[in-house]
Amino acid sequence: MNTNYFFESLNFLRPEVVITVFLAVVLSFDLAFPKLKKVLPYLTALGIIISSGYAVQDFLSMQQPQPISSASKLPLLAFDALAVFFKIIILASSLFLVIFSEKSSEIKSTVERLGEYYSLILGMILGMLILVAATDFLLIYLAIELMSLSSYVLAGFLKTSTKSTEASLKYVIYGSVASGIMLFGISLAYGMTQTTNLFVAANSLTMNPGNPILLVFVSLMILSGIGYKISSVPFHFWTPDVYEGAPIPITAYLSVASKAAGFAVLIRFVKTVYPPVDGLMMISAYNINWKQILIYLSIMTMTLGNLSALWQDNLKRMLAYSSIAHAGVVLAAMATMNDEGITAILIYFVIYLLMNFGAFFIVMLIRNEINSEHIDDYNGLGYKMPFYGVMLSIFLVSLTGLPPTAGFIGKLYVFLALVNSKMIFLALIALLNSVISLYYYIRVMKHLYLMGSNDQAETLKVSFSNILVALILAIPVILFGIYFGPVADFAKNSAVMLGVR
């Protein structure tokens, strides 16, 4: 064993190392100073900021994609622009998660357990950071488990709320089944290829595809594990209940970061193990028509997500279904299977991060005031809480995908990728779905402004820090809607993957 090599590869893992160190620090700090719970969020935030600093540095100094290998010289992790991009997305959402948790009255009610809360968050982040770079089946599985186990507990963190407990239990059961199936798929894949490494598996399958039916089964089994993470239909059943029951900061986080990580691994898995379907490769029995599979998944996911969101009266639940629908849009971009589609996904995630966190943030702040997420309790709130009303409207308009907001740009790039790949039919389905989604998003604005009492009630005073956080999310949503060149370039530069042409 070459110890030098070990230390060298740590250079590529600086964000992960920082998170691990801070995980230990937060845990021991909580044990050593049980009275100083107030410091914990700041400590966590510090760790995330340092980690993201390294991630940004990695991104800027990124040259060629590099493997981070084990002693046997097989790449375990990839150090490429795609991985670092998703690391930045995940760390940015983690920072918002900490800020949200500080503002949430739900989390404040569990102050004596804050130590566990923040160490679990750090554990979850670590799992995601590894997941987005993993190029080995076992590492993928371990990373998924690490992030899932932490999120199971976090979803049920409000011990006294039955909904939260129910959410956690459902999450555990669905999660274990999905990862069990995935693990089964991985073990079968190992049986076919005698390796857990994605690149070696790809090579081995090109040489000897084996039984095509078995291959399809294996692929779908692994897909179901990933599909569960990105809450694609038909693996989505846990999503609404968990999103509704979990504390709002966790819900927001699951809907953005957890999905981003899932998509990162989906992109890597599909692009690495299955070379592009073109020309002669079509003849090989080895090729699975991922394009068709993803198209069907995408159509089902968008449509079911949107149609179910129409009937929701609880805003958290509505946003849960809407996040399923958004996953469907991203899957549509994924179905193009080319760089343009992946660029569209990356752009979508930058924007989705801002607008979805924004929407959840305002829903949380309103919940802090009125202790409800029911849409009927929102009647006339746009006048009682003008700032929240305007902000929520901006985020919802953006989620709908109307110009001049960033959400439109996200959709635009997805449409561009689809039209460019001659997938007009899917583009039309996505378009119809946008119209459906318009209905339930403006329904919220309807309750905010058009319904309820018309008296000019005294308006709520909003604290400066809340305004600041909301604006940090809202200003880019408008700005990127008007001038989106930088985001597009950032994403374009990030669509580079290890070992993929």
Binding site: P403, L416, N420, V435, Y439, Y449, L450, G485
Partner: protein, 505 residues
């Protein structure tokens, strides 16, 4: 050109005004009203300066300003106007201050938001008429929906929520279809020359070379989205709800400007980008327009609600405009452009007058009225003039537009069937029936209702806002040359170019 910034100024003033309004104290309603009026009047004055510098003989786009906006997609900020957009632009800047002035007393709650949304709406409307880049156009096109949604939804009538959502969803469904078509054509541009672009001038060059089978679909995607806005039969069902439920100001803007965007879109985008398909579909679209004329008129006849009657009359009137456009003749096109303005003025005035009555009695039911000529003679006179203008009586504006359109349809070689003109002409008679019948029931005869006896006649504010419209109603009717000369060069050039493309040079 030296005046290249003037259109950006025109866009900037109402936008600046909107944000200025936000900074004003909420309780000082009259200050907000004055500031809002100030900004919209300033916009109008700037548009008059624009008119004075406009070169009537130049058929190309003027006051152009263009710079790269998003370099990766070759999206440009590109604005400019020609003789076709100029009248509509002026109509917009003219109607906005009038509607704001006319809602001085009718809008009492949330004045700040109302003024804010009106100015924002004006930005969107101006933007639509000046954009020369598909992306920019699309942004403005969609941008308008939000203020209009709130204007109908907050200040509207009993069923305002239903109407506003219906309006929003209909328009959005259409425009998304257009978005896919825009992307498709941009992409096609990419395969033909140097990369994806949304610049309109590129679309003009490339569009006609798109294989006809695909071109037809693209044309339909664009045109359906515009047809919803026009609204062409059978896409009109959102209109009666939106018009009826909107506050007076909303109805005036909706009828006066928003509907014109559909027909404007056909002239500016659908036809020149896809000329062959436009010719192919011209008889079908004209047939729908004729159906719309007859259907709109027949339904208007049986309405009990005055506003609804006017709303359905819009379906009929816009049918004329569509026929004029798809006749591909200079006369028809001239008439269509003029009729767009005419309809904005006449229907705008009709909505204002219905608003005047509604404000006093809080009902729009025709059966509640009768014989108010004796009580409010001024109102009765003005109402009659406006009705006659809407019918198209010679000497008033409506006649000129409809006459030119019918002439164009009659001579059109593309439609090649005089039945269109003949059936459409019967629409003028129907218009006389439903409008005069309404006038008779509301204004003439014995006083029907004791409540009506206390009706006060029009006050100064109302006289000013309707009077301003009346000036132009008469002016166009008596001396249309002033207005026709603006669009003459552009229309002739347009017809020449499209005919050439259709006949294959």
């Amino acid at each position: 050109m030296e005046n290249h910034y003037i259109l950006s100024v025109l866009l900037g003033i109402p936008l600046l005004g909107a944000f200025f309004i936000l900074a004003l104290p909420r309780h000082n309603a009259s200050l907000i009203r004055w500031v809002g009026l100030f900004f919209s009047v300033t916009t109008f004055i700037v548009s008059l300066i624009l008119l004075s510098k406009f070169d009537k003989l130049n058929a190309l786009f003027q006051f152009r300003d263009e710079f790269e906006w998003i370099s990766t997609l070759k999206i440009y900020y590109s604005v400019g106007i020609d003789g076709i957009s100029l009248p509509l632009l002026l109509l917009t800047t003219f109607l906005t201050p009038i509607t704001m002035f006319s809602s001085w007393s009718s809008i009492q709650k949330r004045v700040k938001e109302f003024t804010f949304f009106m100015l924002l709406l004006e930005v969107g409307m101006i933007g639509v008429f000046v954009s020369l880049d598909m992306f920019l156009f699309y942004v403005f096109w969609e941008f308008m929906l939000i203020p209009m949604y709130f204007i109908i939804g907050i200040w509207g009538g009993e069923q305002r929520i239903y109407a506003s959502i219906k309006f929003f969803i209909y328009t959005m469904a259409g425009s998304l279809l257009m978005l896919v078509a825009i992307i498709w054509v941009g992409n096609y541009a990419g395969t033909q020359s140097a990369g994806f672009t949304t610049l309109l001038s590129q679309y003009y060059i490339l569009g006609p070379s798109i294989p006809i089978e695909i071109q037809k679909w693209m044309f339909l995607a664009f045109t359906v989205s515009f047809a919803i806005k026009v609204p062409l039969f059978p896409f009109h069902t959102w209109l009666p709800d939106a018009h009826t439920q909107a506050p007076t100001a909303g109805s005036v803007i909706l009828a006066g400007v928003l509907l014109k965007m559909g027909t404007y879109g056909m002239i500016r985008f659908s036809i020149p980008i896809f000329p062959q398909s436009a010719q192919y579909f011209a008889p079908w679209i004209s047939a729908l327009a004729v159906i719309g004329i007859i259907y709109g008129a027949l339904v208007a006849m049986v309405q009990k609600d005055m506003k609804k009657l006017v709303a359905y009359s819009s379906v009929a009137h816009l049918g004329f405009v569509v026929i004029g456009i798809f006749s591909f003749t200079p006369e028809g096109m001239q008439g269509a452009v003029l009729q767009m303005v005419n309809h904005g003025l006449s229907t705008g005035a009709l909505f204002l007058l219905v608003g005047v009555l509604y404000e006093r009695t809080h009902t729009r039911e025709i059966s509640e009225y009768g014989g108010i000529a004796k009580i409010t003679p001024v109102f009765a006179t003005i109402f009659l003039i406006v009705c006659l203008s809407s019918i198209g009586v010679p000497g008033l504006n409506g006649f000129i537009g409809e006459f030119l359109i019918l002439l164009g349809a009659f001579r059109s070689s593309v439609l090649n069937n005089q039945a269109f003109a003949i059936v459409a002409a019967s629409g003028v008679i129907f218009a006389a029936v439903y409008l005069l019948w309404m006038y008779q029931r509301v204004v003439l005869g014995p006083v029907k209702n004791d409540k009506l006896l206390s009706l006060s006649d029009m006050n100064t504010k109302e006289l000013i806002s309707v009077g301003l419209l009346l000036i132009f109603i008469v002016w166009i009717g008596v001396y249309p040359a002033t207005f026709l000369s603006w669009s003459d060069a552009a229309v002739n050039n347009f017809v020449l170019k499209t005919t050439r493309q259709i006949t294959g040079f």
